[in-house]
């Protein structure tokens, strides 16, 4: 059932809220082994929603998927959660790679999250729990986060819609940072309408986050229906597309074909330099991440015990790797060579993207370069490389959505649509037009 029908059905009293709640409860019990939730919350009537566990919900355990925060309870609501109002009922805190540091989504300290369509494979990360819960109909909406593809990757792998808003459209207050200059709170849902509905609630300036701006729209739903792809100029970065798996290219070409049929003008260009985004991002992220992780040395966030034990035993290997590299590359001896280079790379990608989008309305490419991989088969560096396509939009602070786009090798693939900064409605509108035809 479409999210729109569910929302309007409940609002008009056509759908029985209680039987829906029951259905979702049963689904939750049935799919417990998928480990979509870290903490389950007794649901109240309302639209069911999962919140990624790196977003604060007052009074609820707040772990960020890591043992180091196991006993920590959030003392405040994230702005996005606060703005949802009582219409929404939070049914669970969804799993994630600890602190959002992962692309696979299967490294949560509280259980391995599984891909709902093939449990031998990863669900995509880091907002894995959110995507899995929606795919398994355990809830209708989810609040995830997207730093470098954390919402788009699991959306692509689980066959749902994940949206990264323009940086600054949604307040990050209450979101545990992975890389503060790129983090966004990301609405996820079964379809584009659901994402737009959620976004309408949470978007807007916030005094608790100084990077927020007012968006152009306040209601993203009504704009969806009016949007036309006809005459829109669409850019396909050919060099990035060619790096993908053949099945994925096929899916993407199908999506591009549909856009063309709807009257969009497709241009294919080589955008050399965009492949730098992964290198640049990881350097800057290591630095900012290590800075934000410094605080977990003090015993004030739940864990009572020696610092060495906390940091030594409770942080996962991936977290330690990122903290150590981040610390190393910001030290006096190395910062010029590494940290500054990362920042330079980001500025370059940002410039390339802005220049590239000057003459175009949208950019289209696959969300992930390959279908979901099997658990434990990628080494860290290879998994970093899978962020290749979600990266450029992140670095440029542009809105990007991943929508389901057929199957490659029998596994879900996602199509990514990117727009100019603050053209969130354009991105969602195009996705909304397309989603029925893919």
């Amino acid at each position: 059932m479409r999210t729109k029908d569910i929302v309007s059905g409940i609002k008009c009293g056509l759908l029985d809220m209680h039987s829906r709640l029951e259905e979702q409860e049963i689904a939750r019990r049935r799919y417990k082994r998928h480990a979509a939730f870290i903490t389950e919350i007794r649901s109240k009537p309302g639209f069911s929603l999962a919140v990624k566990d790196n977003i604060a919900v007052k009074g609820i355990r707040f772990t960020a998927g890591s043992r180091i925060l196991e006993g920590y309870v959030a003392g405040y609501d994230a702005t996005a959660v606060e703005r949802l109002g009582r219409e929404f009922s939070i049914v669970g805190k969804a799993s994630l790679d600890p602190f959002g540091a992962g692309s696979g989504g299967d490294t949560c300290d509280f259980g391995r999250t599984l891909n709902p369509h093939d449990i031998g494979r990863v669900p995509g990360g880091s907002s894995s729990g959110c995507a899995v819960a929606i795919a398994l109909e355990m809830c209708d909406f989810a609040l995830g986060s997207d730093t470098f593809g954390s919402a788009r990757a699991p959306a692509a792998f689980c066959g749902i819609v994940g949206f990264r808003p323009t940086y600054g459209l949604v307040s990050r207050h209450g979101l545990i940072p992975l890389c503060m200059s790129l983090d966004t709170v990301a609405p996820m849902a079964r379809d584009v309408w659901g994402v737009a509905y959620l976004l309408s609630h949470i978007a807007g300036p916030d005094k608790h986050d100084t990077t927020t701006h007012a968006g152009k729209e306040t209601d993203y739903r009504s704009g969806l229906e009016r949007y036309e792809l006809k005459g829109k100029r669409v850019l396909v970065p050919q060099n990035l597309l060619e790096l993908c798996d053949s099945g994925i290219i096929e899916c993407a070409e199908k999506g591009i074909g549909v856009m063309k049929d709807m009257g969009a003008k497709i241009s294919r260009m080589r955008m050399e330099g965009l492949e730098l985004s992964t290198h640049a991002y990881y350097l800057a992220m290591f630095a900012e991440f290590s800075s934000d992780m410094q605080r977990y040395g003090s015993p004030i966030y739940g864990f009572r015990g020696p610092v060495e034990e906390a940091r030594g035993r409770l942080l996962s290997a991936e977290l330690k790797r990122r903290i150590l590299i981040g610390t190393l590359i910001t030290m006096k001896e190395h910062r010029e060579r590494w940290y500054s280079m990362g920042l330079k790379g980001i500025r370059r990608v940002r410039m390339l993207m802005e220049k590239g989008m000057e003459r175009f309305d949208l950019m289209v490419m696959p969300s992930m370069p390959a279908p979901p991989w099997k658990h434990g088969t990628l080494n860290p560096v290879d998994s970093y490389k899978t962020d290749l396509l979600t990266g450029p939009a992140s670095l440029a602070g542009m809105p990007a959505v991943s929508i389901p786009c057929g199957k490659a090798h029998g596994l879900h693939a996602g199509l990514q649509i990117i727009g100019r900064r603050f053209d969130d409605l354009g991105v969602l509108g195009a996705a909304h037009r397309l989603e029925g035809f893919l």
């Binding site: 790196n54 977003i55 604060a56 707040f62 960020a64 925060l69 920590y72 959030a74 003392g75 405040y76 994230a78 990050r172 207050h173 209450g174 979101l175 545990i176 940072p177 503060m180 200059s181 005094k207 608790h208 986050d209 100084t210 990077t211 630095a287 900012e288 800075s291 934000d292 410094q294 605080r295 040395g297 003090s298 004030i300 966030y301 610390t327 910001t330 030290m331 006096k332 910062r335 940290y339």
Partner: protein, 435 residues
Amino acid sequence: MKIGLEAHIYPGVPSKLFCACAVPMMCPVCTAQPGSKPMAVNRKAVEDTIKVALALKCRVMERITFMRKQYFYPDLPANFQRTSTPFGADGGLKDIGIKEVHLEEDAGRLDLKTGKVDFGRAGTPLIEIVTEPCMKSPSEATEFLKNLSDLMRYIGVSYPLRFKVDTNISLAEARVEVKNIGSIKGVKTAFEYEAQRQGKVISSGGKVLGETRHYDEDTGRTFSAREKETEDDYRKIPDADLPDYDISVALRSISRKISEDLFERRARYMKTYTLSREACIAVTPTPGFAELFERLAAKFPPAFVGEWIRSDLIGELSYRGIFPEDAKPDEGRLESLLGKYASGGISKLRARIMLRELLDKGSWKERPADVDVSKAVREVMERHKDAVQKLKRGKKVIADFLVGEVSQALGFQIHPQKIREEMEKVLEKTVQIKI
């Protein structure tokens, strides 16, 4: 001996730097709860820092960025401290060079004895003033801090001044840092202790180690906190949670309103008004107060006005717990009071009483103008016959007592000299005796 100071001034700002908490309130932001983001930087604190940078004659920047200064310490909730890039650089206070002025957030308070941390003040704005290591003696350093304190008050940033000083002091090569001194007296004690300690080490053939020492206010001693072989690496990175801050607009509007430099003003008073050094300091707590003095000095002898402000006005204000910043005396009445006092029409004590009444009730009670002094003198002499007898026998000091009695009976509004003259007249009539 070479001394450099890092003075951290608490500006008189009601809330913390990146949240709306007042000390000692706490919120997710100032305790660095996971996920919390800093709110927009406190505007008043930014304006105060600009004022300080201008008053210290720094080259002031147009844009600032907040950086994260990263180090581990129990009183620092996030284990990094947000500190701005310099607001101003290359300034000076009298002949002490100022390296830079910037704004930062304070840490919590760690009790070294119990190991407990109080986060109540964590996140309070601090204006850090870094001097060149150019002071040569402890007294030079305390003199600098006194001047700084006067200046902070004069530009309306902080009064009474609350500050913390980190210092570095070196007799030989090694740089010894002494942290967390909270008063000017403490600076002096710590310096003297350090000079003595380092001197002893050197004279006994030892080597002074580069280290960080803490100052204990109770004992007046410093004790070693950690040895420091290498320069600290704070791994500063820009805080992307806070966009770059453009201070050029605030800078222009503050520069327009800036008043005459405190020390130039004092020098001018000393030269053109021939005021004593103490009076100069007393009449210049704030620009407003100094202007009041100048207006009065245009009407009455400046040295007289300065001395009166120093001895009477400041004293009466501080007795009432009023800071000169907040004092709004009725200037017209103040002038008429000074007019009477300056012309010798009223006694010093009467002037003081009138001032008290002016401050407490807004005006003083006028006495009838035509008091009969000789009548009052006769009455007092009638009442104190034995005293008059003694006086007649030649005990002249007793006259002071009698004059005092008359003065009191007349409500202190007659100048004592007048009473004395009157008394002489009365006595001359009875006995031929000159007092």
